[in-house]
């Protein structure tokens, strides 16, 4: 295990029935680092986020945050230790207003009122503060997911397909936001299909297939790797 790692995941496995969604995945992530996680549909990217964040418990393997095992903690405990995430399909509190959505996270992580206003601002949500979350479009709901995660002051942020469905201007803005977050020292695991979007953020990627890592290195090298080419275009 690398001593400077914030997150270290070793040989993580997760089965659904007989199907292995994760099959021995290992990852390391340092503070302020952005790691891209790519792979074809169904390769286990979302499952990796679900297991690291506590939505599912792994069948085997370890998850450590600064060396401390967190793999058996419930979601809110991991959140308090600094792990947070967004969802591929956003999950806001639909009947609550945008501001109330953030308030829930603020009061349970000892953030103040001014933090709510600041995060609304940071993610361009201030004009929507009093709208019910269910009236937001998908891009806005994604930013709300991100704001809710950020207000808990995460040290590790797992983002799942934040780019999908955004227009080019929104993509540029989202990339800026993620870069700012990383600059403040937060480690980011970015699951992404849009490689152009990912290239702006980072050069280091892990490529998954069938629940396993098949490549780790730069995006450029990945594009030339025969196994990567094979899983993306082979079948």
């Amino acid at each position: 295990m690398c001593p400077s790692a914030l997150l270290s995941v070793e040989r993580l496995s997760k089965r659904f029935g007989a199907f292995a969604a994760l099959d021995g995945l290992s990852l390391e992530l340092a503070p302020g680092e952005i790691l891209g996680l790519v792979g074809p549909n169904g390769s286990g990217k979302t499952t990796a986020i679900n297991v690291i964040s506590g939505v599912y418990t792994a069948d085997s393997g370890t998850i450590r945050l600064e060396g401390r095992p967190v793999g058996n903690l419930p979601i809110h405990r991991r959140t308090r230790l600094g792990i947070n995430r967004t969802f591929q399909v956003p999950k806001p509190f639909k009947a609550l207003t945008v501001a109330e959505n953030l308030e829930v996270a603020a009061v349970h992580s000892n953030a103040g009122r001014e933090d709510i206003a600041r995060h609304l601002d940071l993610l361009d949500l201030s004009p929507l503060a009093d709208r019910q979350a269910l009236t937001l479009n998908s891009a806005q709901q994604k930013r709300l997911d991100l704001a809710r995660a950020m207000i808990t002051r995460p040290r590790l942020l797992l983002v799942d397909e934040l780019g999908a469905g955004l227009n080019p201007a929104e993509l540029t803005r989202m990339a800026q936001m993620l870069q700012e977050i990383a600059r403040s020292g937060v480690a980011l695991l970015v699951v992404e299909h849009l490689l152009g979007f990912l290239r702006v953020l980072t050069s280091r990627v892990v490529v998954m297939d069938a629940g396993r890592e098949i490549f780790e290195g730069s995006l450029e090298a990945a594009a030339k790797d025969s196994r990567v080419i094979d899983v993306f275009f082979g079948h």
Binding site: F93, L96, E100, A105
Partner: protein, 302 residues
């Protein structure tokens, strides 16, 4: 002043004053009883999304807890009332694992649990403890006005609980859990603990109502205090008025229970018809209850 305080004070004062000008105190008493039960359903369903068809089980546990504390332990009525609430909370603790179930499974399991409780209590083999099928007789401590006053206090507590939930971080956390439990966890909410707390609070309200009811009627059989209709009424009144609000369950109970007493008792067949139509219309046109109509026209209802 938190929102809803004046509304609550108004409702409580209404039931303090009405007995002086309106003779049917038993109706006033059952009206209060349903107001409490409706708010109890509101605490659970409105704030966490769990719909307990077996809610009457807590009411029955409260009625029996109160009665047995008097008959077996010779508690004075007020202490016995607390014992009734404690009995309901105890049942809720035992049933807390049901909260792992979702949707219809939870509704049905809670219903089954209340039936089990009924069969245990009315079991002839337990007659020496629970009086079994022969029912309870508290004639020795019967006090119509003291038990009425107690129900007023329980009503005040129920309304206060909802005012608290509508204005507190606990209430906000519960609504977040109802909307999206996984996201609530990522907002730092201890989902299991908050849910359990709402479940216990809701059970305590039903237990207090059951205890006050037992004292008020003094003589009762097990069947009526475990009657599924009590759950159904409280649920329909709450949904009709509007959940997760303070005023919704109050408005729903006053209107529908008023209607029930106006035509339901003399002409039950028409009542069933009207009740059925009301429920269907509600589900179709006003899924968020009557007070959502007032909200839609811009009124600021508590």
């Amino acid at each position: 002043m938190p929102r809803g305080v004046w509304f609550s004070v108004g409702v409580v004062l209404l039931f303090v004053v009405l007995p002086f000008v309106y003779g049917n105190h038993d109706l006033l008493f059952s009206m209060m009883m349903y107001l409490v039960l409706a708010q109890g359903i509101n605490v659970l369903f409105g704030f966490t999304g769990y719909l307990p068809f077996g809610y009457v089980g807590f009411f029955g546990a409260g009625a029996y807890g109160m009665s047995l504390a008097i008959l077996l332990l010779h508690f004075p009525p007020f202490a016995a009332l607390i014992a009734g609430a404690a009995a309901a909370v105890l049942v809720a603790l035992v049933l807390a694992p049901l909260l792992r179930l979702s949707g219809a499974y939870f509704a049905i399991a809670s219903l089954a649990a209340s039936e089990v409780l009924y069969y245990v209590i009315s079991n002839p083999h337990l007659t020496s403890i629970t009086q079994g099928p022969y029912g309870i007789n508290l004639a020795a401590v019967y006090d119509s006005s003291a038990s009425y006053a107690v129900m007023v206090a329980v009503l005040a507590l129920a309304l206060g609980m909802v005012v608290y939930l509508r204005n507190s971080r606990t209430g906000l956390a519960l609504q977040a859990i109802r909307e999206e439990p996984v996201s609530a966890g990522f907002a730092g909410v201890n989902v299991v603990r908050e849910r359990t707390r709402a479940w216990l609070m809701s059970a305590a309200l039903a237990g207090l109502a059951g205890g006050a009811y037992a004292w008020h009627v003094s003589v009762f059989y097990p069947k009526p205090v475990f009657d599924l209709n009590i759950s159904v009424f409280a649920i329909v009144f709450t949904l009709f008025g509007g959940v997760a609000t303070l005023s919704g369950p109050v408005v729903g109970t006053l209107l529908l229970y008023g209607l029930y007493n106006w035509i339901g008792i003399s002409q039950p067949q028409y009542f069933q018809l009207v009740f059925g139509v009301v429920i269907v219309a509600l589900v179709l046109f006003l899924p968020n209850g009557l007070v959502s109509l007032l909200r839609r026209v811009g009124a600021n209802v508590p």
